[in-house]
């Protein structure tokens, strides 16, 4: 069972959460990211975000607000332009650090699945254990099959990704990230490329992970999902965490007018989430 998030109230000033704290799995301090030539377009503008062990943080915000960029920075797929990111107290943004080693401890699941189309599901899942962790094929496959069975994909292990439905592909992608036993899982809009009927299976799986106590940061447009799974919801607006707190507070009674406006627009929209 997940622990209760240590900070349930909205934290807004960086000072309130500053200072290294080893009980946090993830600590982002004043993270900036600009794209293009200097000075460049700032996409993240001083993000402070701490995630405690077993905590589930959901990022919401308009398209382009920087959710994906933040997750990519945490996974070192992008170099931060300023600030530090720590994983279990160790600074991973240090240019002297071994990025590959840090990435192994963070699982990232993408909106567009990004399974390797030339490998079977089983080979997708066992690629990292075998090549990075140098585990024997048999051992890696056994571990993979256990996880695949858990998500109901055991019979698809030998299939190629093209042959799977979107929901199945997404579950396979999650298993591929999970098999490294990451300290932290990042999910980027893992359901928005799916048909409504396929969304359920993936969300159920994320719910299971929460039950198991996995520490997660999730970017999503699905407010219903945010409500159900989040310990804390962060509203990103133009590269800034404008508001954060327990889901009931941020989603039902937001303080910021910008947040209210964003949520109103979603509710108006017949295609979007329920209340």
């Amino acid at each position: 069972m997940p622990t209760t998030p240590r900070e349930s109230a909205s934290r807004s000033t960086p000072a309130a959460s500053a200072g290294p704290s080893t009980t946090h799995v993830l600590e982002c301090r004043d993270v900036w990211k600009t794209f293009g030539r200097r000075p460049g377009t700032p996409v993240l503008r001083g993000i402070d975000l701490d995630v405690a062990e077993h905590e589930v943080v959901v990022l919401i915000g308009a398209s382009g607000s920087g959710k994906s960029t933040l997750l990519r920075c945490v996974n070192l797929l992008e170099q931060v332009s300023d600030g530090t990111i720590r994983l279990d107290g160790e600074e991973i943004t240090d240019p002297r650090a071994d990025a590959d080693r840090h990435r192994q401890r963070i699982g990232l699941v993408f909106q567009s699945f990004n399974l390797f189309p030339h490998l079977s599901v089983l080979d997708n899942v066992t690629l990292a254990p075998r090549r990075v962790h140098r585990r024997a094929r048999g051992e890696a496959e056994q571990a993979a099959m256990e996880l695949l069975t858990r998500v109901g994909l055991a019979d698809k292990a030998r299939e190629y990704p093209d042959r799977l439905s979107g929901g199945q592909q997404q579950r396979a992608a999650i298993v591929r990230a999970l098999i490294n036993s990451p300290r932290l899982m990042l999910f980027d809009e893992v359901t928005s490329a799916l048909d409504p009927e396929l969304v359920g299976e993936v969300l159920a799986l994320v719910g299971d992970l929460k039950q198991d106590g996995m520490t997660m940061v999730i970017a999503t447009h699905e407010m219903g999902f945010a409500r159900r799974v989040a310990d804390r919801v962060c509203f990103l607006d133009r590269g800034v965490i404008l508001e954060q707190g327990p889901p009931e507070q941020v989603l039902d009674d937001p303080v910021e007018p910008r947040t209210r406006q964003f949520l109103r627009r979603l509710v108006d929209d017949p295609g979007a989430a329920t209340s």
């Binding site: 996974n75 993408f110 690629l127």
Partner: protein, 316 residues
């Protein structure tokens, strides 16, 4: 309740089915317990009869017009004032039989060269493509060198490279200079590896960055990402142009004959030179076609499959 159903499907849907689990796939549902057979209506039978008649009529028209055209072409050709001469100088069976053995032994050289050069050019091309896709200022000299290589060797006619390699290089009198065939093959490998390098590079660049990102996010290093994720997909994507280049190579290896060895075309030329009959060229051409057809057919098949898959991806 069953009275609400359209009359066509009296008992197709057992009520037990309707409580099937949500994971049941559409195909399952369609297949389960539905009467597959449907008795066509009189209207449909009539329609199909009409369509069949239409098809038969057009096929007949096409067949007859093709036949008429063919006969006309045949008559025009064989009746042409020079037809006898054409047959004699291009299609003389005796000359064909006589020239076949030497042409075949020339072809054997082509085949061996093709195998050796293809292997060499694929390997060298892959290495150069890899060097050309390295990023970062550190690799600038390597990148610049490999880029100039691909430009130079795609630009120079193969004939000239063969001349320089097979006739020029031995003039250096370096210790251990290999024979003319090896040097000629090296010239072919140099030229074709430049082409293949570009094909591979296009393949590498066409693998979406998100695939690299996914691999890196799993902790794979740059080299592991290249080897296990990018290259396998790249090679698959560019297999049509790769095969096309191999078909072209099959014919170009014969240019080695400029430096002395007798390939199939040269053998045919010698036969033509002694018989003053062009049949040996026709024989050599037919042999090349026979040799190429399997390769060409495979190429076509791969190209089409790739094109279809690509377009399927593109539509989503």
């Amino acid at each position: 309740m069953s009275s609400r159903e359209p009359s066509h499907q009296s008992a197709q849907r057992p009520s037990g089915e309707s409580t099937a689990s949500p994971a049941e796939s559409p195909a399952d549902r369609l297949a389960s317990g539905l009467s597959p057979a449907h008795t066509p209506s009189a209207l449909q039978v009539e329609r199909e009869r009409f369509r069949r008649r239409q098809t038969i009529r057009s096929v007949l028209v096409a067949a007859i017009s093709t036949g008429v055209l063919g006969v006309l072409a045949y008559v025009a050709l064989t009746g042409a004032p020079g037809w006898d001469r054409v047959r004699e100088s291009f299609l003389d069976p005796q000359v064909a039989r006589d020239s076949l053995p030497t042409i075949l032994s020339g072809l054997w050289l082509n085949i061996r060269l093709l195998l050796a050069c293809a292997a060499g050019a694929l390997l060298l091309g892959l290495v150069i493509a890899f060097l050309r896709t390295l990023r970062g200022p550190v690799f600038f000299p390597v990148r610049a060198l490999s880029t100039s290589y691909t430009y130079a060797f795609r630009g120079v006619p193969l004939i000239i490279v063969i001349y320089l390699m097979a006739l020029g290089v031995p003039g250096l009198r370096l210790q251990g200079t290999p024979g003319v065939v090896v040097l000629g093959a090296a010239a072919i490998v140099l030229t074709y590896s430049a082409y293949l390098a570009e094909v591979f590079r296009a393949g590498i660049e066409s693998v979406h960055p998100s695939q690299r990102a996914a691999a890196r996010s799993l902790g794979l290093s740059y080299r592991q990402t290249m080897r296990f994720v990018v290259l396998p997909q790249a090679v698959r994507r560019v297999s049509p142009p790769l095969l096309n280049d191999l078909v072209a190579m099959q014919k170009d290896v014969g240019l080695i004959s400029l430096a002395g060895p007798i390939d199939a075309v040269r053998a045919a030329e010698i036969s033509v030179g002694t018989t003053y009959n062009f049949t040996p060229y026709v024989v050599a051409g037919a042999l090349f076609v026979a040799l190429a057809i399997p390769l060409v057919a495979v190429t076509d098949w791969v190209t089409l499959r790739a094109a279809r898959r690509q377009s399927a991806e593109g539509s989503a």
